[in-house]
């Protein structure tokens, strides 16, 4: 069984990460009734016996003594991490996994990436190495951060390039929170574009998530639960809608939105942790969904987001789940994949869903989805038999789709608006090692990326003739 290490950077990264660990514990508690430290648990947690003197790592198969998360928490100001350490999750982390400073990065990418990046480089590498050494077979690093701030975006991307340097064979999957147009941080376009360049070059896969979409989804859920039709009751205990039943007793703001992202991470790793009739490992994600190395932005969409407790014909509900995954409202960034070109699509299903259901739905939905000419039937499917808590089945769709192009173009526009006037630039250039060329290079990298997507989009309507080859006599 392989292990993964989660690296959470910055306020957003740590808050999402905190929800993730809460939900992970809850999911495993639900599945693992006998309290044994099994393979599935070991992919995210270590089992330590604190009474043993050598640091006491216990191996798989024994009883659970003390679970420690395989995580590294980094933040340049103390508030969030200390909040975690005072909360109910404090037992899951120990002090060697944390890295904090006092003053924060001031929403400045250069401060996060260059100043703190070089100051804490060795310390970060040490902590990462330690986490990796605790793993038998490390498969993947999950990096969680936001793009708009200073620490998450600057120091987070610095950590990404350190991961590539130190652990080149380990897959790097980044969950990046993109700012919406009405973001409250003025310099977020600068931070985002500077970070984008690092993501394009150093990450294996990026799962972009936009705050605005999460807000829309959460509003929809609360609307459903408030004026639901008589006779339909919303199931309250599902992991998506609430963290109830988890470790933290009260819900804080942003919790509902962070829950959704945490579920995304849980579902991606479900097939490599649990049994299923068609397994899908993490390394298969990059292998199948990334046709060209720079185009690794996968739009996630998660269903169901809420469960109705009324008795529905199961098949119809299943089919509805598949249709929802491709609708605009369930995507985690503001995009419309149905009207852009699909380069590849992965469907990860959990629960009691069989091959025939999967096939039927793929055949049903396929005609309405435009696929690129050289990958007309390209679907990657995975079936995991363990459903998430509170639902009978769930579906995570990861689409490599050109619908990310408008998001990137918007980002570029917001960047150019500020950059043309050189507004706020001096804060960045004050930092040692930061030069103006970094801005222009980041901008050109983003433009090149947009150009590549555009190029593929242009082939959308055209019927590409088959390339000539030796053909079988007909």
């Amino acid at each position: 069984m392989t292990q993964s290490v989660v690296v959470q950077v910055g306020q957003c990264g740590n808050q999402v990460g905190c929800r993730f660990w809460d939900l992970a514990l809850r999911e495993h508690a639900h599945v693992n009734k006998r309290g044994l430290y099994d393979e599935a648990l070991s992919s995210f947690f270590r089992n330590v016996d604190p009474r043993k003197s050598d640091g006491g790592a216990c191996c798989v198969g024994g009883r659970i003594q003390h679970l420690k998360a395989r995580a590294v928490l980094i933040d340049m100001e103390e508030g969030v991490v200390h909040g975690i350490l005072q909360g109910p999750l404090r037992e899951v982390f120990d002090s060697t996994q944390l890295l904090t400073d006092v003053s924060g990065s001031g929403n400045n990418w250069a401060v996060g990436n260059l100043m703190y990046g070089s100051a804490y480089r060795d310390s970060i590498v040490n902590k990462l190495r330690k986490a990796a050494e605790h793993c038998d077979c490390l498969q993947c690093f999950f990096l969680i951060h936001s793009m708009g701030g200073g620490t998450g975006s600057g120091l987070g991307t610095r950590v990404l390039s350190l991961l590539e340097e130190e652990f080149p064979d380990v897959c790097r999957i980044v969950t990046a929170m993109y700012p919406s147009a009405e973001d409250d941080v003025i310099t977020s376009p600068y931070n985002s574009v500077l970070a984008m360049r690092e993501l394009t070059e150093h990450a294996d896969c990026v799962l972009p998530v936009e705050n605005q979409s999460l807000v829309d989804i959460v509003n929809k859920i609360s609307l459903m639960s408030h004026d639901a039709k008589p006779g339909c009751v919303l199931k309250k205990e599902s992991t998506v809608t609430s963290g109830q039943g988890g470790v933290s007793p009260t819900e804080r703001p942003f919790d509902a939105m962070n829950n959704i992202v945490a579920n995304l991470l849980l579902n991606i790793t479900s097939s490599s942790r649990f049994d299923g009739s068609l397994n899908m490992d993490l390394n298969e994600i990059a292998n199948n969904l990334v046709p060209f190395p720079r185009l690794h932005y996968l739009v996630p969409s998660l269903t169901p987001l809420y469960t109705l407790a009324d008795v529905n014909i199961p098949t119809r509900r299943l089919d509805q789940m598949f249709s929802d995954a491709f609708s605009k409202e369930h995507q985690l960034i503001r995009a419309d994949p149905k009207h852009s070109l699909y380069l590849a699509c992965a469907l990860m299903v959990r629960g009691n869903v069989q091959v025939s259901d999967l096939r039927r739905n793929i055949e049903r939905l396929r005609p309405s989805l435009p696929f690129v000419s050289w990958n007309q039937e390209g679907w990657k499917t995975g079936l995991c038999s363990v459903p998430p808590v509170g639902h009978a089945h769930s579906l995570l769709a990861l689409a490599n789709n050109t619908c990310v192009k408008p998001t990137f173009m918007e980002l570029r526009d917001r960047f150019t608006k500020l950059y043309k006037k050189k507004a706020h630039l001096h804060h960045y250039l004050h930092v040692d090692g930061m030069e103006q060329s970094a801005f222009s290079e980041a901008l050109s990298s983003l433009s090149a990326l947009i150009e590549e997507y555009h190029h593929l989009d242009a082939t959308k309507a055209r019927l590409i003739p088959d390339a000539p080859r030796l053909s079988i006599a007909r």
């Binding site: 069984m1 392989t2 393979e39 038998d136 077979c137 498969q139 049994d275 009739s277 068609l278 397994n279 490992d281 390394n283 298969e284 990059a286 292998n287 199948n288 969904l289 590849a344 992965a346 069989q354 091959v355 025939s356 259901d357 096939r359 793929i362 055949e363 396929r366 690129v372 000419s373 050289w374 990958n375 007309q376 039937e377 390209g378 679907w379 990657k380 499917t381 079936l383 088959d466 390339a467 080859r469 053909s471 079988i472 006599a473 007909r474």
Partner: protein, 410 residues
Amino acid sequence: MSVVTVQLGQCGNQVGQELFDVMCSDARDVHRKTYSAVSCERFFRQTTQGALEARAVLIDMEPKVINHSMSKAAKSGRWRYGETSHFSQKQGSGNNWANGYCVLGPRHRDAVEELVRREVEHCDMLAGFIPIMSVAGGTGSGVGTFITQCLRDVYPSSFVLNHLTWPYGTGEVIVQNYNSVLTLAHLYQLSDAILVHENDIVHKICSQLLKIKQISFSDINRVIAHQLGGVLQPTLTPASCGAYSRHPIGELMSALACHPEYKLLSVCTIPQMASSSIAFSTFSWPALLKHLRQMLISNSKMEGGIDWQVCPPPASAGRSRSLSAGSFNTSLANLLILRGKDVYSAETGGFEDPAIYTSWLPPDEALSLWKSPVPFNKYEKSATLVSNSQALLRPLDDMVRKAWNMFASR
């Protein structure tokens, strides 16, 4: 004569487990002592406690599926896998043929060869190897190809019959066409014969003939196991002189793999129906054989929806080796296996018609007939047809076309 199966990857291990299950229950159910003995000797070995252990080596790059298969086998109570006959690593091949063939295969070559050697040593006489794998993934296809090569190197005089499962046309894995093309290209040189099952076709059998509403992979695997079992269980062949044949794989090769350029074999079985309907159906050999013959020449794998319009082209039209407009399926060689009641009186003349074969092989040499008086897997009469014909051309062409288009896009 014993057969050693090598189960590779998730598909290989799942199909293999169902196959052994079918064969064990078939052998046990039957009151013919010789049949049971031959079948058990062929695929299982007896431990000192009298339990049946499968002659199989399980290989996968991640442990979950092997654990699942082994525990499922042990739970059946009738047979199990050997405790040490498996090999797994921690991390899968990532659906990457190159990873399986160039990196993981060579890395674990010694361990796997050791396991195979131990299994072979348990055999009194080795009939051959049957590697079971899929072509869409990374381990089955990549590591499987490499292991087939190793088997060839270490046991040059043994037969190797590869069993492949081709994925759904609408995609299970995005790079499946690359993996398939690479696998087939290599296996064509290495293997003696390649027996193919396609997920699409088996899915149709499950939904239309067996009437299963929610088809799972175990249903699909069980159909594949039933068809494979129909091929591999003991039979009386012309060469075996009144006793059950002791060279099943060798005789299969000599019957079907008559030319080194033509190695792809397809299987169809009749009848196939939901187990609840078997008790209410009557079977007659003329009806079964007539349907089977039409299934062969119209290239359909099911007895529902057969195109009865297709007929062999008139002899005067000359031999055109192509997928003609009438979609007539020309065979190179056919192996017809009949099991059950009254097999000796079954009339198989329809399969000796020279019109359904190529011109350069006389029909009495192209058709081989094996019989067994023992009913197979609860069917009072059943027939299995293994044919070396044009049946797999179209799906193969599709696969190559898609792989080429993806490649040419760069």
